[in-house]
Amino acid sequence: MRLRTLLAAVAAIVAVSASVLAAVALAGGSSTKAPRLTVFAAASLTNVFPKIDPHGRFSFGGSNMLAAQIQQGLPADVFASANTKLPAQLHRQGLVTTPFVFTANRLVIVVAHGNPLHLTGVRDLERSGLRIVMAAAGVPAGDYTRTVLARLGLSDLVGKAVSQETDVREVLAKVALGEADAGFVYATDAKTVAGKVSVLRLPPGSQPRVLYAAAAVKSSKHLAAAKAWVKRLRGKSAQKMLRAAGFLPIPH
């Protein structure tokens, strides 16, 4: 009797899971002949990449984390990083094809919407009692933040941050939720939650060169498609969508 109940429960679970899977498969539609690519992309590309390829499978996160996952052999077809260093490193290790720079960005400071603390710029972050968040060292946004602060002679702010986040969107979330007073993110990140944060610009000379590079992962089962995907990022339609999201043109 007990066993029968157990078997019935197992059967029910299997049936429910199977029908959910079937529904998902139907909804997903298998109409596309092109393979669905798995794209490991910088967190700052979260909003724009699904627009560029609605059929792609995306894993967004800190570029450094994604690079480590590729090094550990996780199956990705494309790697798009918020810097050029990580793709170049993976390329040297023979893991990805030659990386292409496909867009650029700017680093900004985000504060609570309406700037209730009346912060005028990066130097005001030295005020005591401010809760500053930034991405950790190694995360591209974290490295850019450190570059900016070093250029401005404000490196002590790194030690004053109340949290070192694992990707730039975590920084944005902490400020948008009001848990932190200020954070360093990309201009494009700030645009995604425009009603929740206000933006402070960084002094002109301090801005780092924020370049995004992408490459196909050599172990990909769809290497040709992956290479084409990367190439398409430099194409007109992708560039238009990137521009609409606030990304900057590829510098020459």
């Binding site: 800190g62 450094n64 984390m65 690079a67 480590a68 550990q72 809760r131 968040v133 950790a136 190694g138 941050a161 109340v162 949290s163 070192q164 986040e165 694992t166 975590e170 902490k174 939720l177 009001g178 848990e179 932190a180």
Partner: protein, 274 residues
């Protein structure tokens, strides 16, 4: 005959697969790098900071869990009131909640713009991204394990013994501390061990609500996550450390649950106090 043999083989094969599946990741953590290198990694400041912080925040959280969870469990175990089953279900709910849901819930409750955010702000308290937030996250996800076990332990205490203590003149408080607690202690210890193990492993709610800062809010699981890309060996070493600690807790739990007192302590429970 043949059928029975086949069935037996199938069961054995399934068990072997299940066992191997559960064991392999643990074996992998220890086999990928030599033990010497693992131990050497443990002196890394990231590791020592995270270890100290994990122990500290978990100790505070568990003190809170014991202090608040024990009376709650006793109440639920001994009183019958309308809505009791619902209360038990609600207390157990964080147990099955995905950590990300717990994190969102904590931010929605205690965050700056959360339900209590305004009140806390007026008192000059900001919990998000602080060590207090780590303690709250740990206590939130770990306490149900203790409370549910404690309810069961208190329910197993023979009500006749409690009644006897009362008729012999022991007050409620005295009865609780001299009769109920000693009789329930193994169940309580078991629940506490499980709760501690769960708290040590807390990740999702912590990273969302408390952030990650070395020496302040970066517990061992968070340190493992952030070391994953920079230094895989350090991440392995910290993982090995947590496997050892969690394994030790599990062994301690089994021993506590199996251990039989050499003499029934209840015989002396009603003796007049010294």
């Amino acid at each position: 005959m043949m059928g029975r043999l086949l069935a037996g083989t199938a069961v054995f094969a399934a068990a072997a697969v299940a066992f191997g599946f559960l064991l392999l990741p643990i074996v992998a953590i220890f086999s990928r790098v030599s033990p010497g290198r693992l131990v050497a990694q443990l002196s890394h400041p990231v590791v020592t900071d995270a270890l100290v912080l994990s122990l500290k925040t978990n100790a505070i959280a568990q003190a809170l869990v014991l202090l608040l969870g024990t009376p709650a469990a006793y109440l639920l175990a001994t009183r019958r009131f309308p809505g009791r089953s619902l209360a038990v279900v609600l207390i157990e709910l964080p147990l099955v909640l995905p950590p990300a849901v717990a994190g969102i819930g904590l931010i929605a409750a205690f965050g700056r713009f959360g339900l209590l955010g305004g009140t806390l702000d007026a008192l000059g308290i900001r919990l998000g991204l602080t060590q207090a937030a780590v303690v709250i996250a740990v206590a939130y996800v770990a306490s149900p394990l203790y409370v549910r076990q404690a309810i069961a332990a208190f329910e197993e205490v023979d009500p006749d013994l409690v009644a006897a203590a009362r008729t012999l003149g022991a007050g409620r408080t005295r009865t609780f501390f001299r009769v109920v607690l000693p009789l329930a202690r193994r169940g309580l210890a078991g629940g506490e061990a499980l709760s501690f193990a769960r708290g040590l492993g807390e990740f999702g709610a912590t990273i969302m609500f408390a952030g990650s800062l070395q020496g302040v809010t970066q517990t061992l699981p968070l340190a493992i996550y952030s070391a994953f890309d920079l230094n895989f060996t350090t991440a392995l070493a910290m993982s090995a450390l947590l496997v050892v600690v969690s394994g030790a807790l599990l062994v301690a739990l089994r021993l506590t649950l199996q251990w039989q007192p050499s003499r029934p302590t209840s015989r002396f429970l009603f003796a007049p106090s010294r």
